[in-house]
Point group: D2
Chain length 105, copies 4
Amino acid sequence: MKVHVELSLIPLGVGVSLSPYIAECERVFEKAGLRHDLHADGTTVVGEWDEVFRAVEECHRRVHDQSVPRIYSTLKVSTRTDRDQQPEERVESVRRKLAEQEGES
Amino acid sequence: MKVHVELSLIPLGVGVSLSPYIAECERVFEKAGLRHDLHADGTTVVGEWDEVFRAVEECHRRVHDQSVPRIYSTLKVSTRTDRDQQPEERVESVRRKLAEQEGES
Amino acid sequence: MKVHVELSLIPLGVGVSLSPYIAECERVFEKAGLRHDLHADGTTVVGEWDEVFRAVEECHRRVHDQSVPRIYSTLKVSTRTDRDQQPEERVESVRRKLAEQEGES
Amino acid sequence: MKVHVELSLIPLGVGVSLSPYIAECERVFEKAGLRHDLHADGTTVVGEWDEVFRAVEECHRRVHDQSVPRIYSTLKVSTRTDRDQQPEERVESVRRKLAEQEGES
C-alpha cells in the first residue's frame, strides 16, 4: 500500500534547536531512496508503507543515538485507493480552485 | 524498539459517523494482541514498532475495504530510551503534580 | 461556535518530564470553568471557541513563565453543526458498534 | 503573543476532495492580512495569537457554510520567547546543517 506521510519530530530533553535532528532524518530518507520534501512544519515522505515506516523508525533510532532520551513525533498518514496523487498535485489543486473563483468574481 | 502511538483515523468520502471505522481498528489491535485504550480523540496503542505499524496498516486496509476511498490518520508516536512508561503512568504523573501543588498552597 | 479540542503540549529546551507543564494547563482549564479530561496523550477540552482558545493561550503563557523558551502543541480541533456531542458519546458509540458486531457473529 | 500555526483541515460527510475547502481557508487568511504558506500537508499561518485563531474560526465557519456538517482540523501550534523566527528560517536551518555535515565527511 502506498502512503503519504508528514513527519514532525520533536526531541525532548535537549535544547530548543530541532534542526540537527531533522537533518538526521533527511539523510535517512535520502539513503532509503524515498521521495521527501522538507517544509517549515515537517517533512513529507511518500512511498510503500513498509519502507516509509522502516525509515521513520531508523530516524527515531538515530536521533536517540544523538543522546536524545525521548522523542515525540506527529505523523499525518494518508492512503487512498481511488487514485494516485503526488504531493505537488495537492497544492496545485488548491491553487486551481483559487484561480477559478477569482475568474468568476 | 518499543513505541507508544495515539491513532486518530478519519475516513473521507463517507458520512460523518466515524465509529464503525474506529471499531474496525479496535478489532485489529485486539487480534494483534496489542494493548489498546480507546478515548474520545483516538486510540492509544503500545508495543514493538513493527507490530504496532503492521496493525495500523491492517487497520487502514480494512477501512478501505469498507468502501472508504481515502483515509487521513493523525498519529502521535513516542519513543524513549531512558525508561519504560505505561500509558496510565503519564496520567498518574500529572495527577500527582496537581495533588502536590494543592498541598503546598 | 462550540469546539472540541484535544491539546498535547510539548515544552522544548527543558527535561524529559512533561507532567509539571501539563498540570499547569489542567489548572488553567479548571479555573476557566471548561470541561477538561486528561488522558495519556493529551487533554480533551470542550467549550465555546473563544473561551477554549483563550485558555490554550493562557496555558502557553504560563508554561513559558516556567522558563520554557519554546512550546510545540498539537491540537485536534473538531466542530460540528449537525448535532451536539459530548466526549464520552464518542467512546460509547464505538463500544456500541463493537458490541453489536459481536452479537451478530 | 506571536504564534506559528500549521493548519490541516479535514471536512467530514462530503466527498474525497479537500481542495475547495482549503481554498476557502486560504481566502480567509489572505483577507485577514496574515502571512500564510500552503504546502502539501496544510497551511502555515503566522501572526498574533488572537488574529490567527479568529481566522481559523472564520475558516471553520465558512467551511460549515458550504454544507459541511463536521470538521476535523489538526493544528501544530508553536510559540517561543527566546527569539523571533520566520517559517523559512526553519527550513534554512536544516539545510545549513545538511550542507555542513556534507562538508565534514
